[in-house]
């Protein structure tokens, strides 16, 4: 643990504090990733900036066109939110798969994104919801499609000190599903995971977004499969073809958790089950 931990009460104070802090600094939210990495010696910061007290990062708010989920919102809070359940069905479906109940009381959605793990359940689900990420630096704000900020494992396009303030999910009536294949039903890290959100009309897909976890260097938005599904009826042959297509989009590796060929195959299986659940 670093020698210095600062806890700014709001964003304004945060920007004021930054210039006086050691340059090896990181934001600390729920701590579930950063603390374990620090304990394992995998990363060392001189300073943690505890952002858990910043009110701008808290709460789930519904506006006319979108749902705002603060980056400091705990994973467990999402499951309890009416707005999230109504407008973010894939994200809501992902919550029971996210670590364990106690970790869900600690971990935040912002941390899940900032940690940039390809297996991040919350991120995968949010990408399928078509979410935007809201970023802030001193004197600047950006709003980007969440799917575009990941460069590789643990790497994002975020600039130094740039802070994830929240996520915006456009309000669209859609159905969603999240399926995860791990070593056991709960509290495991996925071998492969699939998130699907689809706007349906009379059995046909108006628009679909498919995202996958643990089968690429980043939480993957399956652009080809998503585009291909648009305008098609969710019939058995269409689902079968989508499952074949999605296997061409992923680039899984063999590691301690699973094997590349198995993971690729399971992407098809999981997508098939997810699409069938939406019919």
């Amino acid at each position: 643990m670093p020698d210095i931990i600062v806890k700014p009460p709001n964003l304004k104070e945060l920007w004021k504090l930054l210039p006086g802090l050691p340059s090896a600094r990181r934001y600390l939210a729920g701590g579930t990733d950063i603390v374990t990495a620090d304990n394992a010696g995998a990363e060392h910061s001189e300073c943690w900036i505890d952002i858990s007290g910043i009110p701008e990062l808290l709460g789930i708010k519904e506006t006319a066109g979108s749902v705002f989920i603060g980056s400091g919102v705990k994973i467990a809070e999402i499951a309890a939110s009416k707005a999230a359940r109504r407008w973010c069905p894939a994200l809501t479906a992902a919550i029971p798969h996210f670590a364990s109940p106690s970790l869900r009381n600690m971990a935040t959605l912002g941390g899940n994104a900032a940690n940039a793990s390809p297996c991040a359940d919350g991120v995968c689900a949010l990408i399928s919801e078509g979410a935007y990420v809201l970023l802030a630096t001193k004197g600047g704000r950006r709003r980007l499609p969440l799917k575009d900020i990941f460069l590789g494992p643990k790497r994002t396009t975020l600039k130094k000190d740039e802070l994830i303030t929240g996520f915006e999910v456009p309000k669209r009536p859609h159905a969603g599903a999240y399926l995860k294949l791990g070593p056991r039903s709960y509290f495991g890290i996925s071998k492969a995971a699939v998130a699907v959100a689809a706007e349906l009309s009379g059995g046909a897909v108006k628009k679909a977004r498919v995202a996958l976890g643990s089968v690429a260097p980043v939480p993957l938005y399956a652009a080809k499969t998503s585009a291909w599904l648009a305008g098609r009826k969710l019939s058995a042959p269409v689902i079968e073809e989508a499952c074949e297509l999605v296997k061409t989009e992923v680039s899984p590796i063999t590691d301690t958790r699973s094997e590349a060929a198995y993971r690729r195959e399971m992407c098809g299986v999981l997508l098939g089950r997810a699409l069938n659940s939406l019919r």
Binding site: D3, I4, K7, L17, G31, T36, A99, S102, N105, Y186
Partner: protein, 169 residues
Amino acid sequence: MKTNSIIEAKKGFFEIALKVNGERRELSVRNGEFLLDALRRHGWKGVKKGCDTGDCGSCTVILNGKPVLGCLVPAVAAHGGELTTIEGLGSVRSPHPLQEAFVEAGAVQCGFCIPGMILSSKHLLDNNPSPTEAEIRKALDGNLCRCTGYVQQVEAVKNAAKKMKRTSN
């Protein structure tokens, strides 16, 4: 410690104030110390240190109404908070219904996972007095037990729920 300014350790220690099991306490915690280690050092030995990586659930405590893992919470982050450990639930003379039910069901073998498991169960029953078996298993899925195979523990939570309902009626 001021929460709105730079917190720096003085001679390697921070002073934090919090409520533990209903009592106001001021604890000096080491720089770099986690809540789990700080609590054990100050005598709350019911908080168990298992994996130290957030996987096993043995160090579960209830912080501000929610079960969290003591091994991942920097002790300073508990400043101003309200904490319940297993010591706050009951005593040998007057155990909590959950503690009774765990003993009666034979849910305790080596006992190492039990404090965390009982605190997770308490949080469940506080929020859902009549859980289904599936709900009990979900609530305990972050508490690993290497002895029992979970059957007796699930049974114990079911029995405790019945007991607690009888006493509240």
